[in-house]
Symmetry: C2
Subunit: 259 residues, 2 copies
């Protein structure tokens, strides 16, 4: 078995009969992020793309705004921890710990202060049919989901192409990982649309705001607070992208769609 999945002996009940079989489940580990050698947080996650998870987390939670604030980084894969030497004001870390909220959702989701917000919805252009095709492709490509049923998925779509996609046992972790992949490649997120398999709660919108992502497209539903923040911070929310339909929850007066 690789890192992402584990083979377990289980007993199955099916159509009135029991049988012993082997089955795949998603692996879960506890991964710890240190900042300047002080423990910031431990995250229950799928053991894959962990440095990207940490990098995305730092940006999406408002701890780091610029790559130049990261002086050094030490990642010990076997011990499941990473340490960042950061040159940031101490109050960001204090603020992170003080405003820590338990999230509604899968993974972390702390509500430290949101970075400068937009005055207007950004000019983006979406092809409606392409959204549906992209969502279908995005979900189909997760072998791990097909095998274990126990993961969420996040992706980044640009110019109708899925540039990055990744799995995690948590919704928020998947978003942080895919953001970290782009950030690690020095790719700006302001032209990327975020694809999510899971529900859109307020924390996902906050992450998108801090990451400067203009559009969130989900297979699932948003909450009322996600919609409120989407309007406030000018992030387009598209939900229930399934089959031949989707819902646009924010910014729908804008000229968002290609003819």
């Amino acid at each position: 078995m690789d890192d992402k999945r584990a083979l377990k002996e289980i007993k199955r009940f099916k159509d009135g009969k029991f049988e012993l079989i082997s089955d795949l489940v998603a692996r879960e580990v506890s991964f710890t992020i240190f900042i300047n050698k002080n423990r910031l947080v431990s995250i229950a996650c799928l053991p894959e793309n962990l440095p990207e998870l940490a990098l995305g987390f730092l940006f999406s939670e408002g701890l780091v705004f610029d790559f130049q604030e990261i002086i050094d980084c030490q990642y010990i894969q076997e011990e499941l921890w990473i340490n960042f030497e950061l040159d940031i004001p101490k109050n960001r870390i204090n603020s992170f710990h003080q405003t820590g909220e338990k999230t509604s959702g899968c993974g972390s989701g702390l509500s430290s202060s949101l970075a400068g917000s937009r005055l207007h919805f950004p000019k983006v252009c979406i092809n409606a049919e392409n959204i549906l095709d992209s969502m279908k492709e995005f979900l189909k490509n997760s072998e791990l989901f097909q095998q274990t049923g126990g993961v969420h998925r996040a992706g980044l779509l640009k110019d109708n192409i899925i540039e990055y996609s990744v799995d995690d046992i948590g919704r928020h972790n998947a978003v942080d990982k895919v953001a970290g992949m782009a950030i690690n490649g020095k790719i700006s997120l302001k032209d990327h649309f975020l694809l999510c398999s899971g529900r859109i709660s307020s924390e996902i919108v906050k992450k998108a705001v801090r990451l400067d992502i203009p559009v969130i497209i989900s297979h699932s539903a948003p909450t009322s607070e996600a919609i409120r923040l989407g309007w406030k911070f000018k992030v387009y929310l598209i939900g229930f992208a399934r089959g031949r339909r989707f819902n646009i929850y924010t910014g729908f007066e804008e000229n968002l769609f290609e003819n």
Copy 2:
């Protein structure tokens, strides 16, 4: 609209056409728990059964072990906070804050120390067909899920009857709420089976251990770590209860099932 759902103006794309419609979404609020007037945690949740959520949280996170430790309680519904006057050792609160883990999942899920564990899997008796019927009934009964698609659900099953069930935008919150409902009624959880709509991650198993719940039955998949903890703390895990099948991940050598 009631407290649980909000009606939103949205734009729908369906079969190649856009239309403006109204649609229901699940409401999300931030609810704060104080202990002895100090802020413990804020939880993003559905505004329903909030005192039960707080009560379940205190027990499932190992902050309170006995009702007698709760001296007094003040709940201000309009301001979305609750304060508990507790007679507990200060190190429990410190331990809660220090070991705080970001969860993989929906709601909170802190890994403070687990209460005394069982030496053996408890003697329980399950009817296999009844599990499947109960799961079906349990999921069908959520009007909010049918309307918004944006909630999880937890329930407590005893003697083949669903005694409590509740919705939340988060998996963990739903478990805390349903536990709080039983605890508030001075009902012991040791003969109840926990029903969950969502995935079983390690935090759900930790909550079940602290709540003394012997069996977790989910519509969805467990993670590897949930299975490890299930074996370690002698909690039966049943997953993928769908249609006419389910998987038993832990304790399946035991004589768990009725003939």
